[in-house]
């Protein structure tokens, strides 16, 4: 019931303005689907259904095509995300240096699995493959900030400090 309500609220709150601007700026570009989706996601934090519908209408790409692209690339999200995003790197170097421990520690701390968002939309926890800072393994990116040479205690401290 609560979920249903949020959904309606979200729908009512969908602001076409930002997307309008994005679509205008890409109107004449060939193959601009991915950049449009990227900018739309930047504007809304994820890709709401309304946004995909509007993009489809304006660009002529079918909704199925857009959905196909949006689900193919790991960068696109169809669900609302948390205010804070934690990316734990599980690239090879991080993996051999203990990244899996960081993941389980945070899963326990936050009560969610990797790839999920906490119900209060505070944090999204993600495991990603290689962020290219292997020399500082194991590392994580929290809200765009890189943290290297992590141990469970250090990552816990960082996450507990998030508001």
């Amino acid at each position: 019931m609560v979920l249903e309500q949020t959904k309606t609220e979200d729908r009512a709150a969908f602001d076409e303005g930002p997307l309008e601007e994005i679509l205008d700026s890409f109107s004449a570009q060939e193959g601009a689907v991915i950049p449009i989706l990227q900018r739309a996601q930047q504007a809304y934090g994820y890709l709401p259904e309304e946004a995909l519908r509007m993009i489809s209408k304006r660009t002529g790409f079918s909704l199925a095509q857009l959905y196909g692209v949006a689900t193919f690339y790991s960068q696109f999200y169809l669900q609302r995300r948390g205010r804070h995003v934690i990316n734990i790197c599980d690239g090879t170097a991080c993996h051999v240096k203990g990244a899996p421990r960081l993941v389980t520690t945070l899963e326990e701390e936050l009560g969610i699995k990797a790839g999920e968002t906490s119900p209060d939309y505070r944090v999204t926890l993600e495991v990603v493959y290689c962020l290219g800072s292997c020399a500082l393994a194991p590392m994580a990116v929290i809200d765009g900030q890189v943290y290297g040479r992590l141990v469970p205690e250090k990552v816990l401290k960082l996450v507990r400090e998030l508001d």
Binding site: E30, G31, A32, V33, I34, P35, L37, Q38, G68, V69, F72, Y73, S74, Q75, F76, D90, G91, T92, A93, C94, H95, V96, K97, T104, V128, Y129, C130, L131, G132, S133, C134, A135, L136, A137, M139, Q145, V146, Y147, G148
Partner: protein, 618 residues
Amino acid sequence: MTEPIYRANVLVCAGTGCASSGSRSTMAALEAEVQRRGLQNEVRVVETGCRGFCAMGPIVIVYPEGIFYCQVKPEDVEELVEETLVKGRVVSRLVYEVPDTQQAVPLYEQIPFYSKQQRITLRNCGVIDPESIDEYIARGGYEALGKVLQEMTPSQVIDEVKASGLRGRGGAGFLTGLKWQFTAQAAGDIKYVVCNADEGDPGAFMDRSILEGDPHSVIEGMMICGYSVGAHEGYIYCRAEYPLAIKRLHLAIEKAHEYGLMGKDIFGSGFDFELIVKEGAGAFVCGEETALIASVEGRRGEPRPRPPFPANQGLWDRPTNVNNVKSYANVAQIIRNGAEWFSKIGTPKSPGTAIFALTGKVQNTGLIEVPMGITLREIIYDIGGGVPDGKQFKAVQTGGPLGGCLPASGLDLQVDFDSLRAAGAVMGSGGMIVVDEDTCMVEFCKYFLTFATAESCGKCVPCRVGGRRMLELLTRISEGQGTMADIEMIEEIARGMDSDSLCALGQLTPGPVLSALRYFRDEFEAHVLEGRCPAKQCVALTSFYIDPAACKGCGICKRACPVQVIEGDRRMIHIINQDGCIKCGTCQEVCPFDSVIKLSGETIEVPTELIPVGSFGK
């Protein structure tokens, strides 16, 4: 231009590695300190790209002497400026020390990590300010483009690149000049040049370092390529995970336009060229050239069968030359110094240098550039400083999740495209991960397969299904449920994937497993036949015990156990109830007396009831 002549340059590495170690605040502190002492007209503080020695970051180098300072924090800055820039002395506590001998090495070129390297592709990285086109030009930048446009015909350029023997640095090692020739000869008025900067291999970050540290070298190489194949438009497909690289590319393109080095009628030659940066959206398979092209076109990044090759039918079905970042970054120097110069570096069949991201269990992690033909031993021990913490070297994994691993017996192998391939590993894009005795090869293979199956685009069956089945078999083995027939089945699936997959992702997915089976078969067999994980890493095959002779009955493990399966009392020998244990290892970590031991395939005798400390076996 009234820029003062500086008596000293202080180079601060601002690559992603050093930046996350705090180089930005070190840089700010340096600038403030130089200002405070009124030295701003004598000393210049420069933000550079990656120096490669990320483990020691933030790195600061003071020129003209070339004094190399490691892990410089803002609070070290005052002393550094006072001693080195005012009094001309070295701050010994900030100097690099060789880990084993504690010998201090103040000068950059004498540090073992650098002394065996030969920096050609990375020659500007960490030396120039990557946001300044002037510094690139001062180091000979855009000379090659000028030479090409004014003195050479397109076919002469192609001949020169062919004569250099440069092979594609993306991993496959195809002759770059020949690739260019195919595109040049392809029919069509409109052609494209594409740079593959979708560096998705976990454990590789050389492309990022070049783009962040020397973006113009890639741009110049692409323009030379554009001229030789007859293309006027180029695309750089860069991972969105590399925001700094993207920012610097945009800036570099803007500057090149400003200087008349890009755009219409470059150098008055009549040659036009434009460059567009495309951000990837997170799909490993887009590193495959046909998938990359599909992605640039705005579609799902799925590969398609080749032929037709992109040289004939690429971006928007037009002839397209696709090369890796490193390949382009080498081009300008080949033109400037001549094909002969380049072909003399490295080995006859793999000329030039190789860049590796040396990571994992080695002392000195970071980015290195070495001449082809160097041995793995030189890389791992002389440059990398060997395995830390007194552990045993076990294997080195090259070529990322689609590569292979080599055991200690392969350490004297020469590094080049062909010898690595013959040994079951590949050059790949240059990840080099060292693992020690603590890594289980079965688990390691599972890791790579998990990655490869997650990144399989799903278009062709061998890759989509084969990878999954193989992962299931490996999981069974790691849980002690495997049979010898499972190992054979893995090999059979591998053969099918290799011969029948659509693109390199599927063909190479079995690589890590096959090479592990080739060199570490006994380890797989130990899992299957003895239910034992020699590295004690596979959870299902390991158990924790409290050594009754060593337990002091302090109770710390009991309080820390998250599932409360440790029985004990004050001054009593503690016992782990094996049935409920989740094998998290917390008890082992917290025990102050190292009394908790981890075993696989064996057990030890423990008391069956609580008895006082020191009484066991008496």
